[in-house]
């Protein structure tokens, strides 16, 4: 059995997961000018890739240890408990989503939007829609990464079991599965049965497994290759080429006609296109290369808000989706002008950070059970959660 990397919190994971949560929130506020700062505008991948990869990494890191020390059954039980928590979070968000739709549909009769009223047709049959939603077969926009997370976690115990014994074989199987699913167009079907999951779990499992593989020693073993100058140069060139391509795609008038050999866009997000995957892996390689495990800025004050959000990721993700609904409400009810977009974006992130700080503080209090706080050198060490 392969040995696990040393315990200890890799703050880089928290930092970048926090960043991806901020980006997901900003991207989810409809037509938000602040979303121009997020990663999706400067390359092929977006915050979803970061979130899924880091989730796979932490899941393997945390539950791999449990499975090693306490056996498969206990490890699997912990993973399934986590999947259940995510399901509950999904249902919680669904209620807010339905409430906002119900509110709008009850008051809305502007003839300008007759075509958009079609979205309310689904809610003519609440009995069907609610049951389908609870069975993960009716997935509203903006929360669809959670069902993916549920599906990935539910099937993770056997994957992790194999990964702890034969990591490279597991990765290979995952890659084969990715290509087979793509070839045969496999995906899960959704109500009303003419479409399928926006995040195809058969394709996105690959990124989750790559994350797990990295956590269980893959990153260490490949580090001489990944840190070699040719690989780093290749990643830099790839990112430098991708950025103008993506930007010119977003501003067609600036770039003029695109040559046909460059017509690789738009990239398939549902099936995790190879270009998106490659872009994310290049980005991750560079981040690991240039941001060492013990990078000073990770312990600085300005990194703290991001790390706090990353350490409470499920809660902060849900809060972010909820806040994006609220931000949308403010933008339509009060003002949708650009200063307001900036204000609601900043306010949303402030709320996310405050709640994350409160949760971390409360967890610390609970864990200490009244004992004095740990010394500063131990802060953040020896404690890894899968949130």
């Amino acid at each position: 059995m392969h040995s696990l990397p040393p315990a200890g919190r890799d703050l880089r994971l928290d930092f970048f997961r926090g960043l991806s949560l901020w980006f997901i929130f900003l991207d989810h506020v409809p037509s938000n000018v602040v979303a121009w700062f997020t990663v999706r505008n400067y390359g092929f991948c977006d915050a979803s890739e970061v979130f899924v990869f880091i989730s796979g990494y932490t899941a393997a890191f945390v539950y791999g240890r449990v499975m090693n020390e306490r056996g498969f059954v206990i490890g699997a039980a912990r993973i399934l408990k986590r999947a259940w928590q995510i399901y509950v979070a999904f249902v919680f968000l669904l209620v807010f989503y339905f409430a906002e739709i119900a509110y709008v549909s009850g008051h809305f009769s502007n003839p300008l939007y007759t075509e958009e009223f079609g979205i309310f047709d689904f809610f003519q049959k609440p009995d069907v829609v609610l049951v389908e939603a609870l069975m993960l077969r009716f997935l509203p926009a903006n929360v669809d990464v959670l069902p993916l997370y549920i599906a990935l976690m539910t099937f993770f115990p056997p994957v992790l079991w194999l990964m702890l014994r034969k990591p490279d074989l597991t990765l290979l199987l995952s890659i084969v599965f990715y290509f087979v699913a793509k070839t045969f167009d496999w995906n899960l079907v959704l109500y009303p049965y003419d479409h399928s999951w926006f995040f195809n779990p058969f394709a996105w499992q690959l990124l989750f497994v790559i994350g797990a593989w990295c956590a269980l020693g893959g990153a260490q073993r490949t580090s001489p290759v990944l840190n070699s100058p040719p690989v780093i140069a290749l990643c830099v060139v790839f990112l430098l080429l991708a950025a103008p391509l993506q930007l010119s795609w977003l501003f067609p008038s600036l770039s003029g006609r695109m040559p046909s050999w460059l017509m690789i866009l738009p990239l398939d997000k549902t099936g995790l296109s190879g270009w998106r995957l490659a872009h994310f892996l290049a980005l991750a390689t560079l981040v690991i290369h240039y941001v060492p495990f013990d990078a000073k800025f990770l312990r600085s004050n300005w990194a703290r808000p991001l790390i706090l959000c990353g350490q409470n990721s499920l809660e902060i993700f849900c809060l972010g989706v909820f806040l994006s609904f609220s931000a949308h409400f403010v933008l339509t009810e009060i003002s949708g002008l650009i200063p307001m977009q900036i204000l609601v974006s900043a306010a949303g992130i402030a709320v996310m950070v405050t709640v994350a700080a409160l949760m971390t503080w409360y967890k610390d209090v609970e864990r200490r059970g009244g004992k004095p706080p740990p010394s500063a050198t131990q802060e953040g060490l020896g404690r890894v959660t899968a949130s």
Partner: protein
């Protein structure tokens, strides 16, 4: 200095340029196109006729709203004003709530009935609401546009409109991206109705958040008709101005 929250809200909601109430103006980069409409140009110059088919999946207006004029009406009058001596017909075909695959089945019949030289096709909203696979949507649209072109028609695509109240319920961006891919592949203009209306909403040219009919409908559709007419004139290299 502390600013009371209510005052801040008021300032933010009142901020922004006070645009003229019926101004259709948008920055040029929102309506630029590199594509050409050669069949339109030829038909106007040689036959002095322009047969336009506007295709959309929007349902017909009902009740009090049924008397409101929509952009196909304005497109016809705007084109007619610009093309003196040319007979312009715009026929609006609505296929309510039909997806691309369902509309595609009717295309050959519509073409043989109307013989349009220009098809203005508004699409993507139904697909976004139903969550149809964006990639498959792009492929189907590409095939349909190719069929229209080989049937002798130029095509202008229109994406979904900006609808601030339903914006969070479904995401049209992947469909617009696929329409852009089709527009580049088939060398046809894409009228980005979403960005144009978003600009109007953000600059305060129109209030697009009203819950009820507030008289904005015809103003918005009038502007859309005018901008599409301008786009058609430019892409077909036709001259003709309108005095306002």
């Amino acid at each position: 200095m502390k600013v009371p929250f209510a005052a801040l809200m008021l300032a933010l909601s009142a901020a922004g340029p006070a645009a003229a109430a019926d101004s259709c103006d948008v920055p040029d980069n929102l309506v630029e196109t590199f594509a050409r409409l050669p069949r339109v140009g030829l038909s106007v110059k040689r036959d002095h006729r322009l047969e336009v088919l506007v295709l959309s999946a929007a349902p017909k207006l009902s009740g009090e709203a049924s008397s409101l004029k929509s952009y196909p009406y304005y497109l016809e009058s705007e084109l007619q004003q610009r093309l003196k001596g040319t007979e312009v017909h715009v026929f609006a075909q609505s296929e309510p709530r039909k997806t691309i695959n369902e509309v595609a089945r009717d295309l050959s019949r519509l073409i043989s009935e109307r013989h349009p030289v220009l098809v203005v096709w508004q699409t993507g909203t139904v697909e976004a609401m139903r969550g149809i696979d964006p990639d498959g949507y792009g492929r189907a649209l590409n095939a349909s546009v190719a069929a229209l072109q080989s049937g002798g028609a130029d095509v202008v695509l229109i994406n979904q409109q900006f609808s601030p109240r339903t914006d969070f319920m479904f995401d049209g961006a992947p469909y617009t991206e696929n329409m852009r891919w089709v527009s580049q592949t088939r060398d046809i203009p894409l009228f980005n109705r979403y960005e144009v209306m978003k600009y109007w909403g953000e600059t305060g040219a129109f209030d697009l958040t009203a819950l009820k009919n507030d008289g904005t409908y015809e103003k918005v559709h009038g502007c859309i008709g005018r901008l599409i007419a301008d786009l058609v004139m430019r892409a077909a290299s036709l001259s003709g101005t309108v005095e306002r």
